[in-house]
Amino acid sequence: MEDRLLLDLQKLETRYSVGRADVHAVRDVSLKVHRGETLGLVGESGCGKSTLGYSILRILPENGRIVNGHCLMEGSDLLSLSEDELVNYRWSKLSMIFQGAMNALNPVLRVDDILYEILRAHKDVSRAEAMERIKELFDLVGLARDHMTSYAHELSGGMRQRVVIAMSLLCNPSLIIADEPTTAFDVVVQDQILAALEGIQDKLGIGMMLITHDIAVIAETCDRVAVMYAGQIVEQSSTEAIFHAPAHPYTAAMLNSFPSVRGPARCLVSLRGAPPDLTNPPLGCAFAPRCPLAVEQCREANPPLEDLTTDAQHLARCYFAGSDAVTEAWSAEESQTGGAGG
């Protein structure tokens, strides 16, 4: 397994300065992504999952900065690269599919020109060679070749997203970070895009990090899952383990708050309150104020990310991790709120 290791994040911390305060957007995050693996990074808006993606590529907005940690990509630390080295590194090793493909394509340039420009920045290719490569990628993501000479505004949202996916593959990266690639699309288009991503994963066997808020997407596409809450990883394991035996109450709540079109009808769990203010992160467990299991200890000290197995296959940041209390926490809560169901 270790020789397949692609990305190794170690204790990454990212902050934004807002006014005089610092928002601790990513706190002490360690993650690994392997070749041929899709890692799902799931969490709700504001939990820091996109910031984590931006941190890895080092394209944070001006007020953001990485204060600590290492980001080893095939052994070399991205955070210690100079800006020039980084420019070459981006896209050739590591690329990103951005949220909101609507605006990711320059409106005044033709699609093939945008892609050619990027390819040329990394490789010494002729235009003809580049066009061959672009044709290849268009086939791969299921776009008609006629669209190569289109402008962004002439394409539908789904097509634009495919162009963006093709763009991310231009230089054969070993890792792709996809930030909410299907959000804002209708279910049919979403499904087409997921199919394209899965196809790529099957054919190319690269590493993929899928950032999303939708656990259904995670369930279908990811091998492993990391759950983020308030800037931290609260649970990390294989997809099956997370879905069948969540070890953190927050994960359990997430799983029980999603309706499904299949399976028995059930009541959904909702969380009260809001995530903590990250300008001043709490001392204890960040989830404690919303957690039905919380005890004094939870409020006083943040639980460590504990290994529930022997080989770091299932990690959870909770004092109750692994006990039945976690899975039962929300059934008690449901009866309390009266749980109106469908």
Binding site: I59, V87, R90, S95, F98, L109, A121, M167, C171
Partner: protein, 325 residues
């Protein structure tokens, strides 16, 4: 963007503008007609007898009903006849043709230099967004934009004309200059101060600010982030992605100022006694030379229309989202 549609588009747009020009003309016509004072009286002169005034009135058709006068004027226009200037005793078109090149020379030269300088500084300033230099550039440009042109002109005349005697400050050519080369040099010499005034107070600040603002705006777009993330160097991001998008508002601003080229410089022309359209218009107003005034309005309106059209064509060329529709 298909060029094939361009001629049809231009024809259609020109046709669309005909009613607009007509409306402008009628508006001006009515405005002039309701003005107090009797043009016949002005034309005939202060010491004219009643009969002489009547004669003038009849000769110019001023005794006819308004509608008839308007229709006759429009009829003459179709024949290329813009009327006859009372004040200059010349056909209106001839008077205008004498002045138009001088204004265009001054304005276009200053504007082109202003656009180039302003845009260069603006783009550079935007590339250093948020730095001290950027702040200084944007505050200074606003300060210069706040200076009244005629005041700066006056100061330049006092300092460089009267005291240092470096530059001439009236007219566009010195008396008795002969020979093509000498004439060109002399005219350029005369243009220095009016041009500097126009560039300092108007063109450089305006194009500095618009180009800076639009580059800054574009640099915030998602596709710029994408290009950066995709490993394009900062230079390539700027040159290939940012500038092409940022140029559109600049072109539109060029259109706005170009459309005002003929009349926008009346103050500068007045200060430096530059014999252009601005001073001509001012004279026409003070002298109540209505045919000349109407002629100037007409030429101005046509000029405005043409510049608009040019901007539309240029915008559609630069931005594929805009079509010749």
């Amino acid at each position: 963007m298909s060029v094939g549609r361009l001629p049809r588009y231009v024809v259609r747009r020109v046709l669309q503008f005909v009613p607009v020009i007509l409306a402008v003309l009628i508006f001006n016509f009515v405005l002039i007609k309701i003005a107090p004072g009797d043009p016949a009286l002005t034309m005939a002169g202060e010491w004219a007898t009643k009969e002489q005034v009547e004669l003038v009135r009849q000769k110019w058709g001023l005794d006819q009903p308004l509608m008839t006068q308007l229709l006759r004027y429009l009829g003459n226009l179709l024949g290329g006849d813009l009327g006859f200037s009372y004040h200059y005793h010349m056909p209106v078109l001839d008077v205008i043709m004498l002045r138009l090149p001088k204004t265009l020379l001054l304005v276009l030269t200053s504007m082109i230099m202003g656009i180039v300088l302003g845009t260069l500084i603006g783009v550079y300033s935007a590339s250093r967004y948020g730095t001290r230099l950027d702040l200084v550039a944007s505050v200074l440009s606003l300060a210069f934009y706040s200076i009244p042109v005629f005041w700066l002109g006056l100061l330049l005349i006092i300092v460089f004309g009267l005291n240092l005697k470096l530059f001439p400050y009236t007219g566009y050519i010195s008396f008795g200059v002969k020979g093509a080369f000498s004439v060109v040099v002399d005219v350029l010499w005369h243009m220095v101060m009016p041009s500097v005034t126009l560039m300092a107070c108007l063109y450089i600040p305006v194009f500095l600010r618009i180009s800076r603002a639009s580059v800054v705006e574009v640099m915030k777009e998602d596709y710029i982030t994408t290009a950066r993330a995709a490993g394009l160097g900062e230079r390539a991001v700027f040159m290939r992605h940012a500038l092409r998008n940022a140029i559109v508002p600049v072109v539109q601003m060029v259109g706005i100022w170009m459309s005002q080229a003929l009349t926008g410089v009346v103050l500068t022309e007045t200060v430096f006694s530059w014999p252009g359209m601005g001073t001509l218009m001012y004279t026409a107003i003070i002298m109540r030379d209505y045919p000349l005034l109407m002629g100037i309005f007409l030429i101005t309106a046509v000029w405005v229309v043409l510049t608009f059209l040019a901007v539309d064509v240029a915008t559609a060329y630069l931005d594929p989202r805009v079509t010749y529709e």
